[in-house]
Symmetry: C2
């Protein structure tokens, strides 16, 4: 069976497609067989991640475990999960997986460092589940980075409705809400803002251009890391993309 | 294991992402769990389909058979293959599959009928493999439709380089070439032109607007047919997209 990159997606479906597009785009292949072989599991019918983290609903962990097993049976030799909130269960899934599993917060941090952005204080925009889960804060704090997040009111009035709008494919409605949340974090002293929800970078091309340069697209960072991993672990593959080593 | 739509993609990778985007978009879901659960096999490292059809290279059939088996093992209860050329091996793959397998020419024809386009003479733009394979011509002729294709010179100077450009993500370079090929088929008496290569609809949004209305996006037609199939076979799923019954 052909070795593949396993993509644990579906949360949400549009974010998964956005990740796959970035993966194809960033591979800079000139013909089909220079692209990364993939197996993509995109099953959105699993318990709500945010409700589970907030202890208001059942855990999606059994469904995520089944997805990991399915991907490995189908030939995955490395895993990536283009959903931030679901990284709450990363430790359990990585322990189950018998293959490397790239963590989205680590790949985001590598991209920030690569771009030379100041990292004394980083804004974090994400679901309430991602922020409550605390894995971004934990990994960033280990590198001496202070994290700033939106007020509860901004979360409820700007970020939550924007993410819901993107999931319903209303990109026009979502954009000004997220722009406003990012602006407030920058005014609050953030050096840059990490868009730590794979729904949100879908609307990044619609942002005010200056504001966009202050944002970090974690989906793109994960795609870049996958391209790098694949090329550094497949000596036969042509290395056409150059970015930092996320896997030192 | 959760039932899924199986997508046999990877030929090429950008066309597969375009299909997945259209699938998500045309589902018109308002939240994650209204989307179709998917398993996507996208392994571009298989023998060249066109060379195989023209008897100049090895067959990709064993690799395609492995993909079908992998998708079924991973829970696929219906299959779609967003690559026209690979439909040359449809009969063998459909016979192997123990589940329904939508044919891209059938779903294209249903979309043409639904749009009320005249169908006395239809232009066909595709790879040399798709045109030599003859499965579009065969299925359309059964419905009394005459097919017109480009001259060998236009195939070599317009269509082949455009498809190569799209596979290398050069959409700007590809667009005028395909526009020219479509215009020539319309001038030659075609009522409409079927873009019978899943690479080509990727540049359809860049077409001259009038020309675009005379074209049929087979990727979109396949996505619509998948949405319809899924909703008509999963009584629990909410039916939000209305299009013709491709599966009578």
């Amino acid at each position: 069976m052909h070795a593949k990159l396993g993509v644990l997606g579906g949360m949400g479906p549009l974010a998964t497609v956005d990740f796959l597009y970035k993966l194809v785009d960033r591979t800079h292949a000139r013909k089909d067989d220079e692209h990364i072989p993939l197996i993509v599991h995109s099953v959105p019918q699993l318990p709500d991640r945010i409700q589970a983290i907030l202890k208001h609903g059942p855990s999606p962990l059994p469904a995520l475990r089944e997805a990991v097993a399915t991907l490995q049976s189908a030939g995955a030799i490395c895993l990536a999960m283009p959903c931030n909130t679901a990284h709450y269960w990363y430790d359990e899934l990585a322990a189950q997986a018998q293959v490397p599993f790239l963590h989205i917060a680590d790949t985001a941090l590598a991209a920030i460092t690569c771009r030379g952005l100041a990292t004394r204080r980083l804004g974090l925009v994400g679901t309430r589940g991602t922020l409550a889960g605390g894995f971004y804060q934990q990994r960033f704090t280990q590198h001496g980075i202070e994290c700033v997040i939106s007020t509860q009111q901004d979360q409820e009035q700007l970020i939550d409705p924007a993410i819901r709008a993107i999931k319903a494919n209303d990109l026009e409605g979502a954009t000004p809400l997220i722009e406003c949340a990012v602006e407030k974090l920058m005014q609050g002293g953030a050096d840059a803002v990490v868009l730590a929800c794979t729904e949100i970078p879908v609307v990044l091309p619609r942002f005010n251009a200056t504001l966009a340069t202050q944002c970090v697209d974690v989906t793109m960072a994960l795609a870049d890391a996958c391209v790098d991993w694949w090329h550094s672990h497949n000596p036969g593959a042509k290395r056409t993309h150059v970015s930092p080593d996320y896997h030192a």
